[in-house]
Symmetry: C2
């Protein structure tokens, strides 16, 4: 278990013993790749700041990401029984517990930021303001709403897809980048963090769309072809497989070009981009 | 529409148009009595502070309260089709929308506090820390977890009931009182706010238990006798109706005695206690 995973485990001693606590930790520790926390750490390392200074923010963000997956998997939503190769929360526990565990993680995220002993209150309020806005009804939840409405739609306009991707996936990437930016006090370069997150969010979601048709359920840790089953609007509605792979390669190269133009050490971010490319 | 309701309506212009926004506002504006906001305002008025200074905190708290009702009413939880005389959120919209609307309200609560232009960042962090802790897996959600576990239990120990009431209902009352305390900068009297909220939470929940058997569905705005249907652990497992009414009268009198001992103007709180007694 690496330092960040240990930090998560230790933070959980803060919670009273309950079935909800178990369900929260079950889903949080279920083998996610921590890409969003890694974005924060990669920004901080680029400024020679100890990644530990981002642990509270990163845990908050990962709690929000995990809650969104728990609620997404519910029968009334995407109805997925597996996630990351394990039973989804409502299958490992039950629906009521999964709803409350998601609520518990979302509530806890803001406490985790308040509990940070390294950051001052101005930075905490900035982090909380970004997180609550980007995960809420103007951010990620807006994207989930568009996603539900787009099911079985016959949109021919790729702007519709990009809008869903930007909100549903891009908003939490943006939050990660802004968290790194604020802890590193690099707000002057806001446009870079925003643009990078925006591009990465689209690429990441289009990769997911591709994986849904080319990977096996075993490789995915959840049933493949579920987008097809749920009649989701995905990149495959606009591009065939080969065209999508070519587009992704171009987009990943553009991320490197963008990183080359920055005046801080972006080697850590580049490595992370490559890791996401090869996932 | 009074000033606070107008404030809520205006705050909603902050959200992008979506079905989720509609569902959030539908439930928030569905005729709740605003007891938790009123507690904040009553504390502030006792210090001659304009209640408007508590509007952001009060909206945040009411958003959290409303989200908890939306999720509580879901089929996987209490499965209630009516709330405050109107269709519950998942009936007026659908289950997926209700889950996301609850998530959207919980997320927004923390942004509302950040958006407050009157309070400084130290106060905002204190408010957010209290709210996230008291509504989460160590607070209200812990109470909901105990409540689920207690269904059909044969507990003879009234401490079990009080523990559920303290968390499920008392925590948000405590949050209201602490919000008033922090905005009024009366932290030195923490014990009073804590004790008052604790007592009020128990009384309020025991009143609800009583109403479930003595009020009609029409008076309640939701089906009566639902606790019986759901085999909930309530005060009626320990007291008969007349004993419970007598106990509540004693407890309400004790709240007045407690308020008499404070060295700020508690007339506003006393009036609110009386309003709750007569609800």
């Amino acid at each position: 278990m690496n330092d960040f995973e240990l930090f998560i485990k230790e933070y959980f001693s803060h919670f009273k013993a309950s079935r909800i606590k178990e369900a929260m930790y079950y889903s949080l520790a279920a083998g996610g790749k921590r890409f969003r926390p890694s974005l924060i750490f990669a920004v901080l390392e680029g400024f020679k700041i100890d990644p530990k200074k981002g642990y509270h923010a990163a845990l908050a963000l990962e709690m929000v990401h995990t809650y969104s997956l728990i609620h997404d998997d519910l029968p009334a939503m995407d109805d997925d029984d597996y996630r990351r190769g394990k039973l989804s929360c409502h299958k490992a526990f039950d629906e009521a517990t999964a709803i409350l565990a998601g609520d518990g993680l979302l509530s806890a995220a803001f406490k985790v930021i308040c509990d940070d002993k390294e950051l001052n209150n101005d930075t905490k309020v900035a982090l909380i303001s970004d997180l609550s806005e980007l995960c809420g009804a103007n951010g990620m939840i807006y994207g989930q709403c568009l996603d539900l409405e787009a099911e079985a739609s016959q949109s021919n306009d790729i702007a519709d897809l990009y809008e869903i991707d930007d909100y549903k996936t891009g908003c939490l990437f943006k939050c990660a980048m802004l968290m790194g930016m604020r802890i590193a006090k690099d707000e002057a370069n806001y446009d870079f963090y925003d643009t990078f997150a925006h591009k990465l969010g689209r690429i990441f979601q289009m990769q997911d769309d591709l994986f849904d048709i080319i990977k096996t359920s075993e490789e995915m840790g959840k049933p493949s072809q579920s987008d097809l089953k749920n009649a989701k609007l995905t990149a495959l509605n606009y591009f065939d497989k080969d065209k999508l792979i070519a587009l992704l390669n171009t987009e990943f190269a553009e991320l490197h070009t963008l990183l080359d133009k920055q005046n801080f050490n972006t080697e850590y971010l580049k490595r992370l981009v490559d890791k996401i490319k090869e996932r």
